[in-house]
Symmetry: C2
Subunit: 361 residues, 2 copies
């Protein structure tokens, strides 16, 4: 899962609550930077994806947004130079809690500084410095990536002309905080977590599986699952024999999803990234949402929200669009009727593709 | 928490998937049965409450629906004889997995038969037999209690003239099943569960705490929590010192709620009752929802749903009311705008009291 390129930022890297040294940023690129150096798009990711947005000659495997990025696709790589950076704090090539601290020779684990979305945005900016990109055409992100894109536009206001925020928010509501806090607690309460000092080959798999299941529950919508699963019984259901096995198809689905994820993502990295979403608040940039948003210097912005998303409710995204309109000439807000909830941007491509394509035309 | 009365049903008691012997049913009563014996109301409860709906001379402590039941209250005990039975499978006086099986002398634990909502309804009917009540004025329940009330009306169609279902459903949607399945898994994955054989004084407290937190998250609504907690920081927050402590007030609230519940409810009983809700399906009574509902013989029914309830969505309850209308002359459906979600019937008394009062006038 390592990205195609690595940039090692030699020397100290200041985070909001600490300093790390010589961090690595894994990133991938698609397309070519033009002579004017004004066609760059930075893609920032949600909590769990790597920088592999889409296939490329360097890595032909299918990416997590394969339908969206490529030649003649909505983010058209025959026109744009696209960069995606694995988030600081993640575990797919960029430095995070599972990396070795060069000052101690030991893995960071819980000695990694408290992570903020702003730190992830600064990591993106460091890669742009390395690539010699002074200003972006657009910074784009979905979910945590949308928060990171917004943070980027706040702390580096002159470095991007455009912003695309998908299924994100200016800050997390207590409901979303409660869910993520519980996911983290499931991991921390797994005895195998060992206060963060688990052997990497044998971490808190049970906690990760439970956290992933709760994630999947909150990433979709009740409507979608009613259509998709109804009350279908699981193929493996044996209610009469085992008192608490799987009864319903929806339970088998969650089981399969959890098994896929649990061994693939470092638990401490998950904890750090999850909490970063809770801590993010545009109001921390000056004292209120209004003051925070007044710092952007964008020419264009697009905010996309999904009606069935209850983790990042569409009302919050409408509010973001309204605040941006006070500062930005060209703001588009799209309220999509997808039934796939928070995950719709990964699934409901028929609705998302044309909206994103229009922005980049 | 034991109820004021106990009825021991001597001999076998047939459940849907097994037989138990000499079960005890704990119950409380308020008011007096009239000479015609036609003023009895049976209250069935949600997963966690006891039979102590309201205070009485026999037990003056505050009940879980104190505002709703009593002299001159919406369920007016100067007019009605009200009975509430602790659910079969629960742990507040009625027989359940934490009780001793008289045939073995050991606690049932996981040898208790798979519990169905219909079994709980039959337990209510057994208490009515004991009290000499042939027919109820109304069977009433909220949440799991609403499912149980519906099951009662299906399997004992001539034993009640009225039905009140609050925030319940004719069957669970996959979304609700997924949440409850995950709650059960949190308990089962706690090593202290020991496949159900935990010492009663030292059960899977961590799993119970996590399950209760997820419960609380799904019992309320995002809107309510935004109003109530916003992004208030927890009094005990110490983000700089502990990397994964409590940051936000909403996390402290959940912590307090979980601590209150975890030691108070038997984990195996929780597992059985939770799964009973998943398994309930009116369509099991004949092959389809339509055939199932055609079995009721009610004179009146009232269905109350709450717009912000995402565990038992109001659309499901509207559907229940529509099905009942095909059979029952007088059906009222109330769609309440409470922001307290599934728990509104316990909290938003200003909205619920008049609706229930009108039914019983």
């Amino acid at each position: 899962m390592s990205a195609v390129h690595q940039y090692i930022h030699a020397g100290p890297f200041a985070m909001k609550r600490g300093v790390i040294h010589d961090p690595t940023f894994a990133y991938e690129t698609w397309g070519e930077l033009n002579a004017a150096r004004d066609n760059a798009v930075l893609v920032l990711t949600g909590l769990s994806p790597s920088a592999h947005v889409a296939s490329s000659p360097a890595d032909p495997s299918t990416g997590w947004w394969e339908d969206m990025l490529g030649p003649d696709k909505p983010i058209d790589t025959s026109r744009y130079f696209v960069v995606c950076v694995n988030s600081l704090g993640s575990c797919f090539g960029s430095t995070g809690p599972a990396s070795i601290d060069p000052t101690t020779g030991c893995h960071y684990r819980l000695s990694f500084p408290v992570l903020h979305v702003e730190d992830i945005a600064r990591g993106g900016a460091a890669v742009l410095d390395h690539l010699g990109i002074a200003q972006l055409h657009t910074v784009l992100g979905a979910s945590m990536g949308g928060m990171t894109a917004l943070a980027f536009a706040l702390i580096h206001p002159t470095r991007t002309r455009g912003l695309v925020s998908i299924s994100a928010a200016a800050r997390s509501q207590p409901f979303a905080i409660a869910i993520r806090s519980l996911q983290r607690e499931m991991i921390r309460r797994d005895p195998a977590w060992q206060n963060g000092n688990y052997p990497f080959e044998q971490g808190p798999l049970t906690g990760m599986r439970l956290a992933r299941k709760l994630g999947m529950i909150t990433y979709r919508s009740a409507e979608e699952w009613t259509e998709r699963f109804g009350r279908e019984r699981a193929a493996s259901a044996a209610p009469a024999e085992h008192p608490f096995g799987l009864d319903f198809e929806v339970e088998s689905y969650l089981e399969a999803q959890a098994a896929k994820f649990a061994g693939r993502f470092d638990p401490n990295c998950y904890l750090y990234l999850s909490r970063a979403m809770d801590l993010f608040d545009v109001a921390d940039h000056g004292g209120s949402l209004e003051i925070g948003f007044s710092r952007v210097r964008l020419e264009r912005a697009m905010v996309i929200g999904v009606e069935t998303d209850f983790l990042f409710p569409v009302e919050q995204q409408e509010q973001m669009a309204l605040e941006l309109k006070k500062q930005v000439r060209d703001v588009r807000f799209h309220r999509l009727a997808s039934i796939q909830g928070h995950d719709a941007f990964l699934v409901d491509m028929d609705r998302f593709r044309p909206v994103v394509a229009r922005y980049f035309q």
